[in-house]
């Protein structure tokens, strides 16, 4: 408890995120309406006692859709950060350790980094059938180069240290050196990176949905709710504002939590950042 009080960012970000996770997970039970069926008689109602967040152009309850949308965003945040950590981490580990691989892999990563991530994701999604899986892939691939770079930098700084050189000299097998000696040193920076990637994945999912290339339109993701609402922005701003604010709070809470975790795990960097 005392430990936590010294890290108000973890408390603040964690609490906020915890509430959002809870609301999203409980959506099937606490959402007042079904988020999918249309009810044209109730279209574009402003916020009222029956519909706290109002209704959209098809008469659907914005509060219910927003709660359900949180589930999609959380799923994408977790999947994208896990996938980019595993794929990027493996590539970075190998590139950092094997000099022969390094030059080629890093040139490929430089090239991938030069492509603006949203454009790359939009292009990939325009070619594949829209689904939650393809959105996850399209958000993950542009994130990979940054993870590779981070992992490689950690490996390069560790591999010349005496304990690694000693392990090599004493004949440890390669997987053991990589997994037991090098990988543990990467856990701290990778954890922090994973939270930032989770935050950016939530934001990019919404941008892709907003641009009309994200998850299939029948899924109530935040991006899709906002994309539906944008045409009625002058009549019914609640269609955009409520899911938008939830989206902003989720991104904020993950970012603040990430800052806090960074401070906790690496006080040396914390002093500087």
């Amino acid at each position: 408890m005392k430990q936590l009080r010294r890290h108000p960012r973890i408390v603040f970000g964690g609490t906020l995120l915890g509430v959002l996770v809870l609301l999203s997970l409980l959506a099937p039970w606490i959402a007042p309406y079904d988020p999918i069926p249309l009810n044209v008689a109730q279209r574009l109602r402003p916020p009222n006692a029956a519909h706290w967040f109002g209704t959209d152009a098809y008469g659907r309850d914005v509060l219910s859709r927003t709660l359900w949308g949180g589930r999609i965003s959380l799923l994408i945040a977790v999947a994208v950060s896990l996938a980019s950590m595993v794929i990027g981490g493996t590539i970075g580990l190998l590139a950092g350790y094997f000099r022969a691989l390094d030059a080629v892999v890093m040139r490929v990563m430089d090239g991938l980094m030069a492509i603006p991530g949203i454009l790359l994701a939009v292009a990939m999604l325009s070619l594949s059938k829209a689904s939650v899986q393809t959105v996850i892939v399209a958000i993950t691939i542009p994130e990979i180069p940054r993870v590779v770079r981070l992992m490689r930098a950690v490996v390069l700084s560790i591999r010349e240290q005496t304990f690694v050189q000693g392990a090599i000299a004493s004949g440890s097998r390669l997987p053991r050196i990589l997994l037991r000696h090098i990988l543990p040193n990467a856990v701290t920076p990778m954890t922090v990176q994973a939270t930032y990637i989770a935050a950016s994945a939530v934001l990019i999912e919404a941008y892709l949905g907003f641009l009309g290339v994200g998850t299939p339109p029948e899924i109530p993701s935040w991006g899709n709710i906002i994309a539906d609402g944008r045409n009625f922005i002058m009549l019914a701003i609640w269609n955009v504002m409520f899911p938008g604010v939830f989206l902003g709070i989720m991104v904020l809470s993950i970012n603040v939590l990430g800052d806090g975790v960074r401070d906790l795990l690496d006080p040396r960097i914390a002093r500087r950042m």
């Binding site: 430089d110 090239g111 492509i115 603006p116 939009v122 070619l127 938008g244 500087r272």
Partner: protein
């Protein structure tokens, strides 16, 4: 110096080559027949075969890539499937709004972020620092359409001070040009400024911990002189470098902002191309955007090599 310039310029070639390979493979490795995709949804089998033959899609992949790359090097980015206009002229037509938005955003963000980042670093740990960084984390967590629609609602709908959306070219008069640009640049600029302020602060903190800063303070130099003449001068290289790297994010933000404000720029061109499955246009936009990003970063590196004699890679 000439050796450094040559090496730095040559280093952009493999980067651009990788971009070209990715953009090429995107179409050819995706599920589905590229000829059918390019021919469009209403194409007959004969149409598809004609596209396949005219674009050389029946040849081996490596040969296709060589042909396509050769075309790119001669400025041939292909022809829009939808409008039959060359891709490069389509992009050129849409360049002004995007360039205007990106530049205005950048200038606004730098003007806001640099002073705030420097003050936060100088007053690190005080309430000023906490306030600036607290606002920054809020701003860069905010979705650009949330800020955009909130500004539109207030300034355009409630106060009727500014237009809701759209764009007028600079050639049609500065006032209208400027009025259409204020809200988009503000929406995107706030987010970008928050990011820059964070980066500026951490770079300045690095420099402020250097020995020569302690020396400068110890010899009794005024704080202003230490901050501006000693610290900022040395922090400027990494700060500008991070601004250059942030341009990839700015380009992404421009796509969304153009969509919020119905600005007919490159971002809207991309989205139109996606809805029309106009693949040569999508490829062209990605190539050009990546090329601009690489060129800007090349220019920044070269500029610093001239200004700072220590930089030699």
């Amino acid at each position: 110096m000439p050796g450094f310039i040559a090496r730095r310029v040559l280093a952009t070639i493999p980067v651009m080559l990788v971009v070209a390979v990715v953009v090429f493979l995107l179409l050819h490795l995706s599920p589905g027949d590229p000829a059918a995709i390019i021919a469009g949804d209403n194409a007959t089998d004969a149409d598809i075969e004609r596209v396949r033959a005219s674009l050389g899609l029946d040849r081996p992949l490596v040969e296709q890539f060589a042909l396509w790359l050769g075309g790119l090097l001669h400025g041939d980015f292909g022809v829009s499937v939808f409008s039959k206009v060359p891709v490069l002229s389509l992009i050129a037509q849409r360049l002004e709004p995007t360039a205007a938005l990106a530049l205005t955003t950048m200038v606004f963000a730098v003007l806001v972020a640099l002073p705030l980042g420097i003050i936060a670093a100088w007053k690190a740990g005080t309430w000023i620092d906490h306030a600036v960084m607290g606002v920054a984390v809020f701003a860069f967590s905010a979705p650009v359409f949330l800020i955009g629609y909130a500004l539109v609602y207030q300034f355009a709908r409630q106060w009727r001070m500014l237009p809701v959306q759209g764009y007028t070219p600079l050639a049609q008069g500065f006032t209208s040009f400027w009025q259409h640009l204020v809200l988009p640049a503000l929406s995107l600029g706030l987010i970008f400024a928050a990011l820059l302020a964070r980066m500026t602060r951490s770079t300045m903190l690095d420099v402020l911990n250097e020995d020569y800063i302690r020396t400068a303070r110890a010899k009794g130099l005024a704080p202003r002189a230490v901050l501006l003449r000693h610290a900022l001068k040395n922090a400027s290289v990494p700060i500008v470098t991070t601004i250059g790297l942030g341009i990839a994010l700015l380009i992404g933000g421009v796509v969304v902002t153009e969509s919020v404000f119905a600005i007919p720029g490159i971002g809207r061109l991309t989205i139109e191309a996606v809805t029309q499955r106009d693949y040569p246009v999508i490829q062209g936009v990605i190539l050009v955007a990546s090329f601009v990003y690489v060129l800007i970063n090349l220019a920044i590196d070269l500029a610093y090599a001239f200004l700072d004699p220590r930089i030699r890679y």
